[in-house]
């Protein structure tokens, strides 16, 4: 059973705000929510992480409702260079009691001129 669910793909245009929502109905009390970005032929890159409410950095904002069963990554005024795959992760405990990073299928964002 998938830990997270997010749209397979999204399209947007330069200058628009893009919101990508991720569902994580079975999130555990200790889990953090983390988003990564991956360009072709590169390893993923950390974007933002949060536990609850709202987190903002120079790249994006992350909105997490009180029940934490979903989260929304918000990218303000996207440009062509934001075309990438975006992954939502929540912590997952291994058999040894440690958190491991499990990536889902991700959302493929295409930004058009």
């Amino acid at each position: 059973l998938a830990k997270t669910t997010q749209p397979i793909s999204m399209d947007s245009y330069e200058g628009q705000e893009v919101n990508i929502t991720c569902s994580h109905n079975n999130i555990a009390t200790n889990d953090y929510i983390t988003w990564y970005q991956q360009f072709p032929s590169q390893g993923p890159r950390f974007i933002i992480q949060g536990y609850k409410t709202k987190v903002t950095n120079e790249v994006a904002s992350l909105f997490i409702p009180a029940d934490r069963k979903s989260s929304t990554l918000s990218l303000p005024r996207v440009s062509l260079s934001d075309t990438a795959v975006y992954y939502c992760l929540v912590g997952e405990m291994s058999s040894g009691g440690y958190n491991k990073l499990i990536f889902g299928a991700g959302t493929r964002l295409a930004v058009h001129p």
Partner: protein
Amino acid sequence: GAGVSQSPSNKVTEKGKDVELRCDPISGHTALYWYRQRLGQGLEFLIYFQGNSAPDKSGLPSDRFSAERTGESVSTLTIQRTQQEDSAVYLCASSPWMNTEAFFGQGTRLTVV
């Protein structure tokens, strides 16, 4: 170096041969992760190290795959008797501790012919 380093960047091997993939994490990072990414697909978790210990090896696809880490530093992923389905990009990441930002290397592109 400042980032995660993986070697070789590309490896072409004949079916049935063994290969070793190396990962040099960021100095001081206690957590180290290995992933496999087939063309056009998401990241498949393989194994995770906390220090030199691997609490969870359940992601390794078969007993042909093994990994070790020494000195809480360099890690080696070994694939024995390679098969064509092993062809993929193998990504390594490290982080200071669990639930924190993970930094990825550029990956090793393995092609089994």
